[in-house]
């Protein structure tokens, strides 16, 4: 089965596309475990253009490309590229399109990856476009859940944190809705998930979405956290208060389901107490590791 030509938004994907990636990610994970030498991107060049800082996404894409036999082109930071001379985004994309066979792009402006895909002949993968989409993160989140719980459908998944600004959460809502998970949203006042996103997921997939304002997740099988973005608050005292109230500690996870997994897209700052990292519930480091097989599966599925 064919995957999409460019991976720009989770909205562009049908369930069959995601199923393909979930299946192939498992195969990639097995191949990595067995130290198999893979070469589906042998002789190809993958360009990773990160106009914005990134650690996990950039490094995992580069590692995944190399593990498939590709060579990687990259600029370490925007300051060392022609962008400082005023080169436009479109010129950079056109130029890199001539140097590579696949482009991974992260840029601060929303819609930039879609535009890059319009300009480039080669496939483009969105590594995050402003506050809009981060589809490869969503695919790795869905894979992590499926791998840990064997299913997504009917699973109680709680999303907690700054649901207003986190692009990860918006894309994930879409993926969870598509697979029929029961979604619970917990957010501080003013940082709730946008009404438009909730309505869209309900309309398109008939998803069950519940909103709560208290830290209550006794029925959850998956607790997905994201950072409270303190820089969004004008009053730092208020930010600290909210951060404390929504922090995950040994106390807040008392009474949770025995098989709960706690996920986080990372980087985490202080929204999770260090003792939770040591608990059996912490699954975020495992989740981060899934970045490699999932991104391998994505690149392997694209026509390069």
């Amino acid at each position: 089965m064919e995957f999409v030509k460019d991976l720009i938004s989770i909205r562009d994907l049908e369930k069959k596309h995601i199923d393909l990636i979930l299946k192939k990610s498992f195969e990639m994970e097995q191949a990595l475990k067995e130290n198999k030498k893979l070469s589906s991107l042998g002789g190809k060049v993958v360009a990773t253009l990160f106009f914005e800082p990134s650690t996990r996404t950039r490094l995992s894409f580069q590692s995944a490309a190399m593990r498939l036999g590709a060579k990687v082109l990259s600029f370490e930071n925007v300051g060392a590229s022609s962008i400082v001379k005023g080169e436009t985004f479109s010129d950079t994309i056109r130029m890199v399109d001539g140097y590579s066979d696949l482009i991974v792009v992260r840029h601060a402006n929303e819609g930039s990856a879609r535009y890059a895909a319009q300009l480039a002949d080669h496939p483009v993968i969105n590594g995050g476009d402003g506050g809009n989409q981060h589809p490869t993160q969503t695919l790795l989140d869905l894979y992590t859940i499926k791998r840990a719980k064997k299913r997504i459908e009917g699973l109680n998944v709680t999303l907690l944190g700054d649901l207003k600004h986190a692009r990860t959460m918006r894309s994930l809502m879409h993926g969870l809705g598509m697979y029929g998970a029961n979604i619970t949203l917990i957010a501080p006042k003013g940082l709730e998930m946008s009404r438009e996103v909730i309505e869209e997921v309900k309309d398109r997939f008939g998803a069950k979405v519940e909103e709560k304002s208290k830290m209550e997740f006794s029925g959850a099988s998956v607790l997905y956290l994201c950072r409270i973005q303190k820089e969004r608050f004008s009053d730092q005292y208020e930010a600290e208060k909210v951060q404390k109230e929504f922090r995950i500690t040994a106390d807040t996870i008392k009474g949770v389901k025995d098989d709960l997994i706690i996920m986080h897209p990372l980087p985490k700052v202080d929204e999770v107490a260090p003792e939770v990292d040591q608990s059996k519930y912490a699954y975020y480091y495992e989740q981060a590791r899934m970045g490699i097989p999932v991104r391998m599966a994505i690149m392997d599925s694209m026509v390069v």
Binding site: S9, R11, T88, F89, S90, H107, A108, N109, E110, G111, S112, R114, Y115, D129, G130, G131, N132, Q133, E196, D203
Partner: protein, 148 residues
């Protein structure tokens, strides 16, 4: 006493514009003081359908699809009367199109279309609503929110 406005010979009459938006329609049609032919703008005319309305009459102006789509964004129930030799030869109600190509700027300042020379595209969310989603930044807007 009813307001009497001279008939136009050839051109377009745009009726049922929501009151106060007639000037916006003139702006969409790019009609300013340099336009040589006859133009009439009637504001706050009583209307059975919408209470109060504006009407625009423009001599010598044929509207292309882009202009009609732009008018639909501010006046989704407007009627266009095409005039030839002082007679109405065609009457049509504007409709919000399913797709707006290069018609409007994206209201999201962070959208790449506001930084690079890109032809914008907005697609109607569904036939029940008048919401459009930007084909680039994926944000949804009400038709009247789209900047013209």
């Amino acid at each position: 006493m009813p307001l009497v406005v001279e008939k136009i010979e050839n051109g377009t009459v745009i009726d049922h514009i929501p009151a106060g938006l007639g000037l916006k329609v003139l702006e969409i049609l790019k009609i300013d003081r340099t336009y040589g032919a006859r133009v009439a703008l009637m504001m706050n005319v009583p209307s059975k359908k919408i209470g109060k309305k504006d009407i625009v009459k423009v001599e010598g102006k044929q509207l292309d699809e882009k202009a009609v789509n732009r008018i639909a964004l501010v006046a989704p129930n407007a009627t266009l009367n095409i005039i030839r030799k002082a007679n109405v030869v065609e009457k049509k109600v504007v409709q919000l199109p399913k797709e707006l190509l290069g018609v409007s700027k994206c209201p999201n300042p962070q959208c790449i279309t506001n930084l690079e020379p890109i032809v914008t595209i907005f697609r109607m969310e569904n036939s029940k609503s008048s919401k459009y989603r930007c084909g680039f930044c994926e944000m949804a807007f009400e038709a009247n929110e789209l900047l013209l």
